[in-house]
């Protein structure tokens, strides 16, 4: 219980202590935008870890990534940021908890449902 007879300084230190813990959820739009921005930076820095390697490492791919992985394309296509051209990204960046449900899509993972 807060002692209201404490000097001002201690009163505020106590209030700060009691209100220091917080459990906020970042909006899914924000997480989506942060991820998209990081992916842009990574893609600019060089080829991404290829989808074939991601699958080999046991990472689960979304249906679109899986298509790119198995399609008869060069390895460089699998190192591209395929989310850039996906409608799920656009929706997730604009809408809170956008109605997207692809399994293993990172933008679905960011949702606070």
């Amino acid at each position: 219980m807060m002692n209201s007879h404490l000097p001002d300084d201690m009163l505020f230190e106590d209030l700060a202590e009691r209100t220091a813990a917080y459990k906020d959820k970042a909006p899914s739009r924000l997480k989506s935008r942060i991820y998209s921005r990081l992916m842009l930076e990574e893609a600019e820095a060089g080829p991404l870890h290829s989808l074939s390697n991601c699958a080999r490492d046991g990472r689960r791919l979304c249906v679109f990534e899986e298509l790119v992985r198995i399609a008869p394309l060069g390895e460089s296509a699998r190192q591209r940021n395929v989310c850039r051209v996906c409608h799920a990204r656009v929706l997730a960046e604009k809408m809170e908890n956008a109605p997207i449900y692809w399994p293993n899509c990172p933008y679905v993972r960011f949702q606070n449902r």
Binding site: M1, M2, N3, S4, H5, D8, L11, F12, E13, L15, A16, R18, T19, A20, A21, Y22, K23, D24, K25, A26, P27, L30, K31, R33, I34, Y35, R37, L38, M39, E41, E42, A43, A45, G46, P47, L48, H49, N53, C54, D57, R59, R60, N81, C83, P106, R109, F110
Partner: protein, 200 residues
């Protein structure tokens, strides 16, 4: 009753958590998109929560700051040495950004109310609010209602635990001026708190 964890167990958990963090960082540095998604999913809530509480009343800045924290982190990720958990490292970056904001705000001229604008305070009945959630909400509400220089001064001094000497040095003000600003901020905080408490 659950046994209290032994120091060795705590140390082992911490070492394991840092090893996990290091593996994640290595994967992000290898430009692994799935690891990057994990990185954002794992830490965004914590960074967002911290910024939301420290940037009151400027809710409009929170999302830009959060994005900036992750960008700065990504650009300097190769400097992460695994000496602390990644979330602490990210919070350190966030703290720097928040302090830059505080510094800029308190370097601006602050228009203080006249001496007699503020009544003498009476002790706020914080102890009547037993619920932590309510206490937190009320605190945020009152901080948000203050002039920004006041909320910044209070947050910096009490929530970030910076001394008045540090604040003075970082803002180019005298210690006396910072103390005066804090005294005003506390008074107005308490007055607003009490106003909220008073029946309509």
């Amino acid at each position: 009753m659950l046994p209290f964890p032994q120091a060795d167990e705590v140390r082992t958990d911490r070492v394991a958590a840092i090893a996990q963090d290091e593996a994640l960082v290595r994967a992000v540095l290898a430009r692994d998109r799935k690891a990057t998604a994990e990185f954002v999913a794992r830490y965004a809530d914590k960074i967002y929560g911290y910024l939301r509480h420290r940037l009151l009343p400027r809710a409009d800045l929170v999302e830009d700051f959060a994005q900036e924290v992750f960008l700065v982190a990504w650009r300097s990720l190769d400097q992460y040495r695994g000496e602390a958990p990644v979330d602490n490292w990210l919070l350190g970056i966030a703290r720097h950004k928040v302090e830059d904001h505080y510094r800029a705000k308190l370097r601006e001229p602050v228009d203080l109310p006249e001496e007699n604008d503020l009544e003498l305070s009476f002790n706020p009945p914080w102890d009547e609010l037993l619920d932590r959630q309510q206490l937190q909400e009320r605190t945020q509400q009152v901080l948000s209602s203050l002039p920004e220089a006041y909320s910044v001064a209070l947050l910096w001094r009490y929530w970030e635990k910076r001394s008045t000497r540090d604040i003075a040095a970082l803002t180019g003000r005298t210690e006396k001026a910072v103390e005066r600003l804090l005294a005003r901020a506390r008074e107005l905080f308490k007055r607003r708190w009490n106003d909220e408490q008073s029946p309509a």
